[in-house]
Amino acid sequence: MASRRLVLAHFWLAFAAFAGSIVLGAWQMFARSPLHSGPADVDLYYRSVTAHGTALAYVFPTLIAMGFGYAVCVSALDRPLRGERFAWVGFVLVLVGALMSLLAVAAGNSSVLYTFYPPLTGSPFYYIGIVLAVVGSWFWVGLMVYNMRQWKQDHPGEKVPLAMFGTVANALLWIWTSVGAALELLFLILPVAFGWKSTIDAGLSRTFFSWTLHAIVYFWLLPSYIAFYTLLPSAAGGCLYSDRMARVVFVLFLVLAMPIGIHHLFADPHIGAGFKFLHTVFTAAVVIPTLLTVFTLTASLEIAGRLRGGRGLLGWVKALPWDRPMMLAAGFSLVMLGLGGAGGMINMSYTLDSTVHNTQWITGHFHLIFAGTVVIMYFAIAYELWPHLTGHPLRSAKLACLQLWLWFVGMLLVTLPWHVVGLMGQPRRMAYYDYSNQALAAEGPLVSVSAIGGFILLLSAVLLIVILLRSQRGEKAEAGPLTYARALDDRSPVPRTLNGLGVWFGLMVALTLVNYGYPIAQSFFLQHNTVPAQTVRISP
């Protein structure tokens, strides 16, 4: 495979950020559980939460999307990456930005959590680091769009390979998604962090952040969906049921993932009921591409299972090659998607949200979806790519399956009790809970179970690193080119609108203006909505 060093650099930096963050995450779960004697160091706790969120939201998935994108670009288009120099510039920006942010957090004057929470204000270095990392990822966006366009010029009338089509859809989703937080950082937070201004509009900041906060989840998710559609069917020994439906799903995500973020602000006083309901409707609509995916994947896997000799209504499930990491990871991923998706339907409901808003239910929900459904597929993608990147066989598939099992079990142990204590009313983001209080005592044992789950996840993360390191040594064995699943409808043409993304990008931008225009504009006409900012400092 071309650009091996580039892809490996992205994956290794991603997994380094990941492994460090998991150590912090496991400690946080322990520190606020009854297993820890007495309150933990509160200041350290919030530094840890800020670092965990920052590394896992802005650094880790971004690098995986970038690295996987470059791998798809060279292997699906079957030609070298054009503009690789710029890809390295992007990588260095992400590296420098991540280090700058995390050092600012470690220094203790930026404990604002990755969601920023103005009027609290941290060190300017913290925010500049994030801006640099995001700008680095924009280089990737440009390269993906450029490489697809060049390929189309050289192959008139041909279908863009599905994996590349999905990757470019995700790149376009990301660049528009990141604009919300970029506006918040550049125009609202940084002037205050530098001391040029002393007041900030906290409500408007939250509105801008919600623009990024929901769609970023789909940016994290889409690499996993690309693997579902293009790597899983062949790993299972079959083919993709419908290439056309896969394209429909990617464009639906591109259009609908973005203008729905106000469902994070249902409980906020600064958004009117009409826009809250509107965002409920659009969030409901984005469930549809996921349900379409469930159908196409099930059909593709059934084809594979029956080709492998599976019989009867469900015999094909048993016939699938569960000893292959990609297959096993996808199975776990879909189970967690089912559980997490059902929970998500509650969170996005205009009426039901108040039963769970800002409780541990939410923490449980997004860990189940992101750290579960999405990240377990990142592992599978790494295992799939590694032999092609390193020239060594994976050592070993068995160990990889053990790692996936540990991650799955650990994730359920962490997140299911969180959902339950959330329903009991346990608030999020607290360094300490007094379980000796009778009203909280019943939550204690559940929190202990989830802390144990955290250590299982830590074990799984260590095993991941061991497997990847081991698979870069020892005997060489060329894995040949990375290939993608063929589709049943490979030879039927697709309409032009499903072979390019320009129209859909335009629709996404237009829909954003409709769904966010007024909630943003109203801030400029209200009074008193700008409030004094407050610097966070290390507690004495």
Partner: protein
């Protein structure tokens, strides 16, 4: 993976496959529409709405007088007999930290922040909202049973966030000091 090639070389089965796909897409869309219908119905039928008044207030002068001055914090009885609870959220406490309300009486909660973004929920109820500085948050509820409930801050508001817990003491309507609360705000601490 020879079997893969065999399958892909067959002509696409656009008939049966396409039909099943379309049927699935239509039925799933119908499910989503029904789901939205339930939200609309319950919201309209029970008057369930998130706090959305977009009402602003100067967060720097709450203590200087007006609705959130010290004497007004706590529970007052409005002329229509309902209770209005006014609370200031600040780092790292709610004022008052013990809210006294009568059971079975409609309660309107009005909160404002004096500094950072806070949030609050009352355990075992659907009262759950953000308190963003610059805005007044309004929530409506009726507490059915008497008893003590916890009211934590649920949004990160600084290093002391974990210490920000208030109580809601719901008392039998007969024991609630309606007379006092008509004249001035009452609370339990």
């Amino acid at each position: 993976m020879a079997e893969t090639v065999n399958v892909a070389q067959q002509p696409p089965q656009s008939g049966a496959g396409g039909r099943a796909e379309r049927l699935w897409a239509r039925s799933m869309t119908a499910c989503i529409v029904v789901f939205l219908g339930v939200i609309v119905f319950t919201s309209a039928h029970w008057g369930l709405h998130p706090p959305s008044r977009v009402e602003t207030i100067d967060s720097t002068s709450l203590h200087k007088g007006g609705e959130f001055s010290e004497a007004n914090l706590g529970t007052s009885i409005a002329p229509d007999g309902s209770a209005v609870v006014r609370v200031v959220a600040q780092q790292y406490a709610f004022v008052p930290s013990c809210v006294l309300v009568p059971a079975g009486v409609p309660v309107t909660m009005r909160l404002a922040s004096a500094d950072a973004v806070h949030g609050f929920l009352i355990q075992g109820t659907n009262v759950n909202a953000m308190v963003v500085p610059g805005y007044v948050t309004t929530a409506h509820t009726t507490f059915a049973e008497s008893g003590d409930r916890l009211m934590p801050c649920h949004e990160f508001c600084g290093v002391g966030h974990h210490a920000m817990w208030a109580h809601v003491r719901i008392v039998d309507a007969k024991q609630f000091p309606f007379g006092d609360a008509k004249a001035k705000a009452v609370s339990c601490g």
